[in-house]
Amino acid sequence: MPVKFEVNGKPVSVDVEPRLTLADCLRHHLRLTGTHVGCEHGVCGACTVLVDGDAVRSCLMLAVQAEGAKVVTVEGLSNDDDLTPLQKSFRKHHALQCGFCTPGFITTAHALLTEEPDCDADRVREVLSGNICRCTGYIAIVEAVLDARSAYKKTTP
């Protein structure tokens, strides 16, 4: 089945089986391997991408459902020159170890901070509790997200 959507600002068109998940489409058809798959049943959040701005589990969504959507992956939230403020904050706080869960946390946190740059620690924990990290114990991740809030605040009120 042909499907057309936008990934990280670029239009893509792929021919996929109807049962192919968006995660597998991104990883194996489009070779965007930054999106990880940790459970394939919607629990771990490693596969989180942004679909029209919302954080979505790409293992629970079919590629064909992305027709016409704007999809952003961790690659799309990165650039070559430097880490983004959110990424810098993760690095500064040592909010990652093995890095496998990290793309999912980055996309989830980005969506949260974009919507709610003033969120408090409880809110951060609540939202991040949909993502599993087995290495860090989360304390540093929450600190990193809180510390990155300023970068998301609108400069003019």
């Binding site: 459970c39 690659e75 990165s78 599993i132 114990g137």
Partner: protein
């Protein structure tokens, strides 16, 4: 220039790729002509495998082959099917219990591999599984160690027993000491079944080059050199014909990177079909195929003097080993009895450890193997004894902690492996005192047992030691690059701890160059150093770091020699100045010596012991059984902290894993040994909202005397005491009900039951 990278919170170089989605994990690899392996696993816990009919599956378009035991005819093995040998404690007694790479006569657990489908896609392979007809004659399943003990249904019939071994931990003369003891107490204590779940499931990609007779295996982790040895022997190749490649590894925790059946099956499949083959485990498989750990029941007795000083411990530990003795499967069952005394002075020690084979997923190590269990037993006993004898809990510990002057203190010896061990250094009392002070114990402990706002408050304390630095050896090699930078190659592996950064810090300090001059740190692949041991037993910093030190010495000597000759100066006058080699007024770019290399190894047979204390303040909802942590502090002395930032990550990360085991995690089976926890919705892991109030303080006041860095392994201290500390806090909170938790996890149901039982008893 004198550097101080060691001891500084250097941000990790690994992060630059991980944060941008540029890490390369094994499933990110692809090669032309790749086939995908999907594994058919037993849905029966115990049975005789009568037949496997693959004909219908083979007819499905896109299915290239289906491999079963019939395809294997390796003359080195009685049934033609290779066996996975034990890596640690490879005793002859264990031989009959080792796992074949694929089931051929019996299946012994739900999840055991029966067939491997090679298909053009994972989806096609999964479809094909349903078309494989397997005939299994059911045998009575053995679902618990108590059932195993009856020896009615026997997993390995020729052995006549379900007990693969009994370890004996011994010190002093416990029976005599107990006879004369003024006080004893006997308890039954249990720990749940956990595992070192990694967020990245396991995976292997194998490529066979028939022309070059070369097998390349990607997805290696933890112990690639050892695994290469196993694979070479099984598959009939020379070690030099096999290359093991370590990619980025999404977590290890002791479980990932051991040699599993799939580590043979996938390379075999690639060779068999002469095409590259990749297998990536899905989560359900991972839950039933990766090593389980921890499930024990202990019947222990402690003897003390009236002042609380410990005279001895004795008793039995029973471990539910699952269906096979896997590579490191005996470690936990050996450690639990041997190291249960932790940081405490225990003159007499006699604990037998029974390894029971059951129809469950086989066990292996999981961070703090046996130590988490042992610490739970010991800390529970200490609190109960303190209450019996009317001694303050903290005082009870102070009286029994090994004092500074007693190091090296001999721990119990484990037989039949004759495993001796001793502590190295430290001030255990000072760490406990610091922990209590920073925690605010004197204030918080006043709340113990009080009902405030509908919840009972409780505090708990526990002390631990953490063994690290397993020998015998580790290797490092340095090489000069054309651009005048230096690359470090390591025999150790990365499982996400940040070793690239750590080794760069150590190398830069030793060479007195800016850290950026250490261009790359490579590790974990068999093609860059002559030998390597890997990442386990908290050894990467101590063994790998010390290897970097000795390699830099050799490197400098080699460079001095080469440069001295080239510049016509005395070797001793040659120095390294950032990117130049300087001597007698001359200077050359380091890149002039591109390719110059030096490898060296650090040898060590002793263990390091980092140590510390945990303290926690919790509330318990007696009606719902729910626990909330208000404050949790770990204080750990690590000898020498190389990178405080990553160290804190190790302590807090391992603590949360420990808390998972203390209150949430439990792999469950029913009485037919059917696996009940096949998704992450059933096997509960800690989430960001579960334990928000955790702290740690890491000190390095007492360097280890057994390595040049003075460092001690520190990746497991957070996990070891978590179960004991939490259970002690629950007992403290629910003292008005007379509650004494004797099992983990402290699930809401379990706590509720304890409260009910306490109320009933009070009513009688």
């Amino acid at each position: 220039m004198k550097n101080t990278f060691i001891g500084a919170s250097i941000e990790r170089r690994e992060d630059l790729r991980f944060l941008r989605g540029r890490g390369i994990y094994v499933d990110d690899l692809t090669v032309p002509g790749l086939l995908y392996a999907v594994i058919l696993r037993s849905s029966v816990a115990h049975g005789r495998l009568k037949s496997v009919d693959t004909s219908a599956a083979l007819k499905i378009p896109g299915v290239h082959a289906v491999i079963t035991a019939k395809d294997m005819n390796f003359t080195d093995y009685p049934a033609g099917v290779p066996i996975v040998p034990m890596r640690l404690q490879p005793l002859p007694e264990f031989k009959p219990f080792e796992q074949p790479v694929i089931a051929y006569d019996k299946v012994r657990y739900v999840g055991e591999p029966i067939a491997v489908v090679l298909a053009s896609s994972v989806a096609v392979g999964e479809d094909a599984l349903e078309h494989i007809a397997v005939e299994i004659e059911d045998l009575p399943p053995v679902a618990t160690w108590r059932a195993a003990q009856k020896n009615e249904s026997i997993l390995f019939e020729p052995t006549g027993t379900n007990r693969s071994l009994m370890f004996e931990a011994r010190k002093g003369d416990a029976d005599t000491a107990f006879r004369d003891a003024p006080y004893t107490r006997r308890e039954n204590l249990r720990t749940g079944r956990h595992y070192g779940l990694t967020m990245e499931p396991r995976g292997v990609m194998a490529e066979w080059d028939a022309a070059k007779n070369k097998l390349t295996v990607s997805g290696a982790a933890k112990v690639p050199f050892f695994n290469r040895r196993i694979l070479a022997k099984q598959i009939g190749l020379a070690e030099s014909d096999i290359e093991m490649i370590e990619n980025d590894v999404g977590g290890g925790y002791g479980a990932r990177g051991e040699f599993y059946p799939e580590d043979f099956l996938i390379p075999f499949a690639a060779k068999h079909i002469n095409r590259p083959v990749k297998w990536i485990e899905d989560r359900r498989e991972n839950l039933m195929a990766m090593n389980h750990a921890r499930e024990t029941e202990a019947d222990l007795e402690i003897a003390c003097n009236r002042d609380g000083t410990i005279i001895g411990v004795r008793g039995d530990v029973h471990t539910d080993m699952g269906a096979y003795m896997r590579t490191n499967g005996a470690v936990g069952a050996r450690n639990a009895p041997q190291f249960m005394t932790g940081p405490y002075r225990v003159p007499h020690h006699k604990v037998d450890s029974h390894l029971w084979m059951t129809n469950k997923t086989p066990v292996g190590t999981y961070r703090g193997p046996g130590r988490f269990e042992g610490c739970f037993y010991m800390e529970r006993l200490l609190d109960m004894v303190a209450a019996d004898l009317g001694i303050d809990r903290v005082e009870m510990r102070r009286r029994n902690l090994i004092s500074k002057a007693e190091h090296p203190y001999k721990l119990a010896t484990a037989q039949p492996t004759n495993a001796h061990d001793q502590t190295d250094s430290g001030d255990y009392h000072a760490t406990l005192d610091l922990c209590l002070k920073e925690f605010g114990w004197s204030e918080k402990s006043k709340l113990g047992g009080k009902l405030v706002g509908g919840k009972y408050h409780g505090v708990g304390v526990a002390c631990f030691i953490e063994g690290g630095a397993a020998g015998p050896k580790e290797s490092a090699r340095l090489e000069i690059n054309r651009d005048s930078t230096i690359t470090v190659f390591m025999g150790t592996s990365s499982v996400g701890q940040g070793v690239e950064t750590i080794y760069a810090q150590i190398a830069a300090d030793a060479l007195e160059v800016p850290i950026e001059r250490i261009r790359h740190v490579y590790h974990g692949s068999t093609n860059t150093v002559s030998d390597g041991y890997g990442a386990y037993h908290s050894r990467s910093v101590v063994m790998g770091g010390s290897a970097v030190l000795v390699a830099t010495e050799k490197f400098m000597a080699t460079l001095r020699q080469a440069a001295g000759k080239r510049l016509g100066c005395a070797e001793s006058s040659v120095t390294l100045d950032v990117d130049k080699v300087v001597a007698g007024g001359f200077s050359l770019p380091l890149g002039e010596f591109a390719g110059l290399t030096a490898e060296s190894a650090f040898l060590n047979h002793k263990h390091t012991y980092s140590y510390g204390s945990h303290a926690t303040h919790i509330t318990v909802d007696a009606k719902l059984g729910h626990i909330e942590i208000l404050d949790y502090l770990v204080v750990q002395d690590v000898g020498r902290a190389i990178n405080p930032l990553t160290l804190r990550g190790q302590v807090i990360g391992s603590l949360v894993q420990g808390l998972g085991g203390a209150v949430l995690e439990d792999l469950k089976y029913d009485e037919q040994a059917q696996f009940l926890t096949g998704t992450l919705a059933d096997y509960l892991l800690p989430l960001a909202s579960d334990f928000p109030n955790l702290r740690c303080i890491v000190t390095d006041d007492h360097p280890s005397p057994i390595n040049p860095l003075g460092a001690k392994g520190a990746g497991e201290g957070g996990i070891v005491a978590a179960g004991g500390c939490m259970a002690n806090a629950v007992a403290n909170a629910l003292q008005s009900f007379g509650v004494q938790p004797r099992a983990l996890p402290l699930s809401p149901t379990y706590i509720w039951e304890l409260v009910q039982a306490g109320q009933q008893k009070a009513a009688e």
